[in-house]
């Protein structure tokens, strides 16, 4: 472990301690805490969707469907199986199980993606979202359209922070591995990447699996902040919210996703005094931003600190190449 990695580790641990401190000390109001947790959950959602939409170049519009499965599975575990006993001990387990179950459902979307691409795959994901919502509405044991409640407030800031870091860590390491290169090659040209012996089917399954896993985790965290979920909160509107965050931050950029999720969540809260007009001003800002910067805030660029050291040289070289070429 080099000195830089050690420093990252120390920073991460410091952040963790800070989260615990902020939560226990009561320095932050309950409202600010709540919003910070939403920011974290949205970062997880945005990053996982960015993996599909940004890195693999598909257009998935059903991410909330995965989130719903994670939310319901984790709630069933904490409320029905353990009857709210041993909450803090069971919760991490419940979150992970929720993630795994959600990942298993991602095959529904992954298999059609072998043949269908682009806008048609978008519809497949959309249909998936609607089917999940419709099924949940029809299961009476889970409250049907009335929703499911009784969860304890098991999610805390440290929890969200930890999962955020895990997501960033996994996505970052995936993207800069051989696996990540293969995924990027699918985005650029699927047929060509098939020809250079990338197993595109396997890659697609893996990407959907990982994305769904983290969406499920975000759903589990979400359910235990809200302490109440109903199928409507995972409708297509939720999916489009996440989409907006991905493209606002910039596709194919980890830092972009973090930024997109944060800006979106915080800005909408800051606009709250506007009342109904908040949702008029928000979309206008989005449209203006898209027109001025069609590739989002980061736009395929990455924060230099997130790029592996060996590759930073490449990025710099690319930039100088662009400069010399334009001269």
């Amino acid at each position: 472990m080099g000195p830089k990695s050690r420093m990252t580790l120390v920073l991460v641990l410091l952040g963790f301690v800070l989260c615990l401190f902020l939560e226990r000390s009561g320095l932050l109001s309950a409202y600010v805490l709540q919003i910070s947790m939403y920011v974290g959950i949205n970062i997880i959602l945005t990053l996982s969707l960015n993996l599909v939409n940004g890195y693999m170049g598909e257009f998935s519009v059903g991410h909330a469907g995965f989130m719903a499965i994670g939310a319901y599975v984790s709630s069933i575990i904490t409320v029905r199986v353990f009857h709210n006993q041993m909450g803090p001990l069971v919760f991490p387990l419940a979150v992970i199980v929720a993630g795994i179950v959600t990942a298993a459902t991602s095959f529904v979307v992954a298999f059609p993606s072998f043949r269908t691409r682009g806008d048609y795959l978008a519809i497949v994901t959309l249909a998936f979202n609607m089917i999940v919502k419709s099924v949940l509405e029809n299961i009476d044991a889970l409250g049907g359209p009335r929703g499911f409640m009784g969860m304890g407030r098991l999610t805390n800031l440290a929890n969200v922070y930890a999962w955020c870091l895990v997501t960033i860590f996994v996505v970052r390491n995936l993207v800069y591995s051989n696996f990540g290169r293969a995924v990027l090659s699918i985005r650029e040209d699927e047929v060509a990447s098939n020809l250079v012996s990338v197993n595109t089917r396997q890659m697609k399954i893996m990407v959907f699996l990982i994305a769904a896993f983290f969406a499920g985790i975000a759903g589990a965290l979400f359910a235990h902040v809200m302490q109440f979920i109903n199928p409507r909160s995972f409708a297509i509107q939720k999916s489009t919210d996440i989409l907006v965050m991905v493209y606002l931050g910039g596709i194919g950029s980890i830092f972009g996703s973090v930024l997109g999720a944060t800006v979106c969540t915080v800005l909408l809260e800051l606009l709250r005094p506007l009342g109904v007009w908040r949702w008029v001003v928000g979309p206008i800002m989005l449209v203006v931003l898209m027109i001025c910067r069609p590739t989002g805030i980061m736009g395929l660029k990455e924060l230099i600190g997130l790029i592996p050291r060996e590759e930073r040289v490449l990025v710099k070289k690319e930039e100088t190449d662009v400069v010399t070429a334009s001269n």
């Binding site: 048609y120 249909a127 089917i131 029809n138």
Partner: protein, 301 residues
């Protein structure tokens, strides 16, 4: 049993006609710009409000009701087309050469804006559309037919045939097909691409405007969020038929409407409707990845 079936088929035709009118807008814009215009459902909602205000303003005068109806329809179609062209010019045109998804996200933003602007200015209370035409119920044996139902089906079919003729036979239609086939070459051949795109938006939205008035005749409650559900369903209809294909959109709309109408007959609860509709959609896409009438394009490397 047969009468119920026939009755439901009639209802399906009525619902399907409205879906078809909206699905046409999706499919035309997609055909020409390769853009999923997510704001289209909300444009439909706006057209219902235009129809509502036009009807309220016109009803107080002593004009024959059928004239009021036609005028309402015209006003709604015209204003909706204007709004759509405005949106296209302001929001989509600057993004014509940007990545495709940026335009899609912009469309999502515009949709949200339309919804919430209506909500903020007109309030969340649903408005009741005044009944423009006397609703007469005809009985055909055991079947019951309302005049509104007949009107909706006939007007929709006439509009669809008209639109199909426009796209297939006129110069504008030819230009539309040319732009949809290859924008660059079309502009080299002297097709005014920008004007054709605006025309497409105008026509697609005017048809949705007609759909809006017809819809609010049958279901006379208008609220700012009504465009969301119908917009998505019309979009799905367009995809089932093969998005970008005008005839496919009509076919998809009727299929979807029949699924919607017949599901409650087979399954115990109507809450399974969405589930069945989307499962049909999934199966169609797995079997025919570009929709029922969509062109299968070979990928080049």
């Amino acid at each position: 049993m047969i009468t119920i079936l026939l009755q439901q088929m009639l209802n399906g035709l009525q619902v399907g006609s409205v879906y078809a009118l909206i699905a046409l807008g999706y499919t035309m814009v997609y055909g020409i710009l390769r853009l999923i215009n997510f704001a289209h459902g909300d444009i439909f909602m706006i057209s219902c409000y235009f129809g509502f205000f036009a009807a309220c303003a016109l009803l107080s005068n002593a004009i024959p009701t059928w004239l009021t109806f036609i005028a309402t329809m015209m006003v709604s179609m015209l204003l909706t087309a204007l709004v759509a062209v405005l949106i296209e010019r302001v929001a989509y045109k600057p993004l014509r050469y940007a990545p495709k998804v940026s335009a899609v996200i912009t469309a999502l933003g515009i949709g949200l804006f339309l919804e919430n602007f209506t909500l903020a200015t007109l309030g969340p209370t649903p408005r009741g559309m005044p009944s423009l035409l006397p609703n007469v119920n005809y009985r055909l044996g055991a079947l019951s037919l309302s005049s509104v139902q007949i009107l909706i089906i006939i007007i929709s079919i006439v509009l669809m045939i008209l639109l199909d003729r426009v796209v297939q036979k006129t110069m504008t239609g030819m230009a539309m097909r040319a732009v949809s086939y290859d924008k660059t070459t079309a502009s080299v051949m002297g097709v005014p691409v920008d004007r054709i795109i605006s025309t497409t938006f105008a026509i697609g939205s005017a048809v949705a405007g007609a759909g809006g008035v017809l819809y609010s005749l049958a279901y006379p409650i208008i609220n700012p969020y009504m465009g969301v559900k119908i917009g998505w369903w019309a979009f799905i209809a367009a995809v089932i038929g093969g998005i970008g294909n005008v005839r496919g959109a009509m076919l998809g709309a009727y299929i979807l409407a029949f699924v919607e109408v017949f599901t409650p007959m087979v399954l115990p609860s109507s809450t399974y409707r969405d589930f069945v509709a989307f499962t049909v959609l999934l199966i169609v896409l797995v079997v025919r990845p570009t929709g029922l009438m969509g062109r299968v394009t070979a990928q080049k490397v």
